[in-house]
């Protein structure tokens, strides 16, 4: 079986309300495959990643559906087993490299924590592995970086550290939540290449959350376009970019700035497209409530 992450008909609500934040989301990510989650802010892209990692905010409740990691149904496990499974098989690359690192601890300690606490490595082995990892993310002076505090590093350097830390325990699934949004374009390119390189070398399955259709085309093989917590289109990247299927996907594509095309003026997503998708979603909601 090559499918590593399987999300099946997942719906989530705000506790106590009847409104869904995730609307019957289904997707599969195979071993060695990168799956892009695209949508505007508030579409629920990060929520899906958090649901998989079991770190949803307390106010969000999953009301139906399954998440299977390596064939095991996460919700069927007791909380301890679930944490252990997620902790050993999955990892997160967060968006903001400054808030994701503890400002008062050295980089070295923050990378080795995970190895010592979850995997039970000795501190000595973990420290060696941390230095190795920094070399793998092309940091030329690992010793200095391991001894540094986060504020002493640039944004791109911090993101490299977080990538190293995500790949530290050889996870089979990595969830990247807008990992390059806070970086400028030249650094973004380096970081995207780095993520792709590590992902290929380790054969990792990856869920890549972003609002940027340009970024998706560089790193993903498949993608899901989300609107209001619902997947409106799921397709192979090659096919999607030559021929997006859903009206909303087409509108997003037009709104994406392309520096190579001077004359086309940018078109925000049209109201008529928004109301059509909203209707589609309301119809799905009525059906869901009836069922």
């Amino acid at each position: 079986m090559t499918c590593f992450l399987e999300i099946d008909n997942l719906s989530a609500i705000i506790r106590g309300s009847n409104d869904r934040l995730l609307r019957s989301v289904s997707l599969q990510v195979n071993i060695g495959e990168v799956h892009g989650l695209v949508g505007e802010s508030g579409a629920g892209k990060s929520m899906i990643g958090k649901a998989v990692l079991g770190i949803l905010p307390a106010a969000v409740e999953i009301v139906e559906g399954q998440v299977r990691l390596d064939g095991q149904d996460l919700f069927a496990l007791n909380p301890n087993d679930r944490r252990r499974l997620i902790g050993t098989k999955a990892a997160l690359i967060p968006q903001d490299p400054l808030t994701a690192l503890n400002p008062s601890r050295r980089i070295g300690a923050q990378i080795t924590d995970r190895l010592v606490d979850i995997l039970g490595w000795t501190k000595h082995d973990a420290a060696n592995r941390a230095a190795e990892l920094l070399v793998e993310v092309h940091i030329s002076d690992p010793e200095r970086v391991l001894a540094s505090y986060p504020h002493e590093l640039s944004g791109g350097m911090r993101q490299r550290v977080l990538i190293a830390s995500a790949f530290a325990a050889n996870p089979q699934l990595v969830i990247a939540d807008e990992p390059t949004t806070a970086l400028d374009v030249t650094v973004q390119k380096q970081i995207l290449r780095l993520i792709r390189e590590l992902q290929l070398r380790h054969g990792t399955a990856m869920l890549f959350v972003t609002h940027d259709l340009g970024v998706v085309s560089k790193i993903c093989q498949r993608l899901s376009v989300l609107f209001a917590g619902k997947i409106v289109e799921q397709a192979d990247v090659a096919q999607f970019y030559s021929n997006p299927g859903h009206e909303y996907s087409k509108a997003l594509m037009v709104a994406t700035p392309k520096y190579t095309e001077p004359l086309t003026s940018l078109m925000p997503v049209d109201e008529s497209v928004i109301s059509a998708v909203t209707e589609e979603i309301e119809a799905a909601d009525r059906e869901w409530r009836g069922a």
């Binding site: 970086l183 030249t186 390119k189 085309s217 970019y241 925000p268």
Partner: protein, 269 residues
């Protein structure tokens, strides 16, 4: 109003700021050079794009133009007068005419004040009349309903908040607006809306704008002239179409090649 004289004439502009990371335990911090001898003009009624990576000095340049920072050398002529070394007192009559729009609309709008107060406060400070009418007009200009007067920033979406930031700036009837990374926090659809709005306002109100961005793809839409900064120096200063057709510097080329186009077969990736 066609006018051959530029609104801004900047010559040999240098800025140095105290480097507190290397401050000795006693005594003053050493100065660190941020901008090194910049020469450029901003024509009245045009939009100048300022591009560069993080740490290149683009925001420092913007802040020096509106004199939130003082140049350490060189001159900034605004309508023929060197404003580089004016005191705060001497700057005050110009403040209304030089406005700013900020990157993060959440932290640049006071969360405890309603939209009408956010837009009205600077008008009141500058002693302008008909404040209510001006607030309404500003909301009309940015395409928000007048009922938004009563809202708080947290009740608005990111794109709407950025429109309030724009409304606050244009309500002052400025001649010049500094827009510092105003669309980088927005997703593509709101980004397109805000850029289109700014373009319309430049035309309608005859504004002159310096548009700072790290993203060359949004520059192409809006700007007539582009200035590329790297490590505090100008590496390219060209009309926008020239820059995209044949970038003069290696650094500009690199910036262009780094933009991910929505195309899986883009060369160089």
């Amino acid at each position: 109003m066609p006018d051959d004289k530029p609104m801004f004439r900047v010559r040999q502009l240098s800025v140095a700021l105290p480097d507190f990371a290397n401050k000795p335990p006693f005594g003053r911090p050493p100065l660190i050079r941020i901008l090194n001898g910049l020469d450029f003009d901003i024509q009245t009624g045009s939009v100048l794009g300022v591009v560069g990576g993080s740490g290149s000095g683009k925001s420092t340049l913007g802040r020096t133009l509106v004199r939130l920072l003082k140049p350490s050398a060189g001159s900034i002529e605004f309508e023929g007068e060197d404003i580089g070394q004016l005191t705060e007192e001497q700057m005050r009559p110009l403040r209304r005419r030089l406005q700013m729009i900020f990157q993060d609309p959440m932290s640049s709008l006071n969360p405890r004040r309603r939209v009408k107060e956010i837009i009205a406060d600077p008008l009141r400070i500058h002693g302008l009349d008909r404040i209510d009418t001006r607030v309404d007009e500003a909301l009309d200009h940015v395409g928000l309903p007048r009922s938004f007067r009563q809202r708080y920033p947290h009740e608005l979406s990111g794109g709407q908040r950025q429109r309030i930031g724009i409304a606050r700036a244009i309500a002052m009837r400025p001649d010049f607006i500094l827009a510092d990374e105003i669309v980088s926090g927005l997703d593509v659809s709101s980004q397109a809306q805000v850029l289109n709005l700014l373009e319309d306002l430049v035309r309608e109100l005859g504004l002159t704008v310096a548009f700072i961005s790290h993203d060359l793809s949004v520059i192409r839409r809006l700007c007539s002239q582009v200035l590329v900064l790297n490590r505090g120096s100008i590496v390219e200063y060209s009309p926008v179409e020239e820059l995209f057709a044949a970038p003069k510097s290696e650094y500009t080329r690199e910036l262009l090649d780094s933009i991910p186009l929505p195309d899986p077969d883009q060369p160089g990736w």
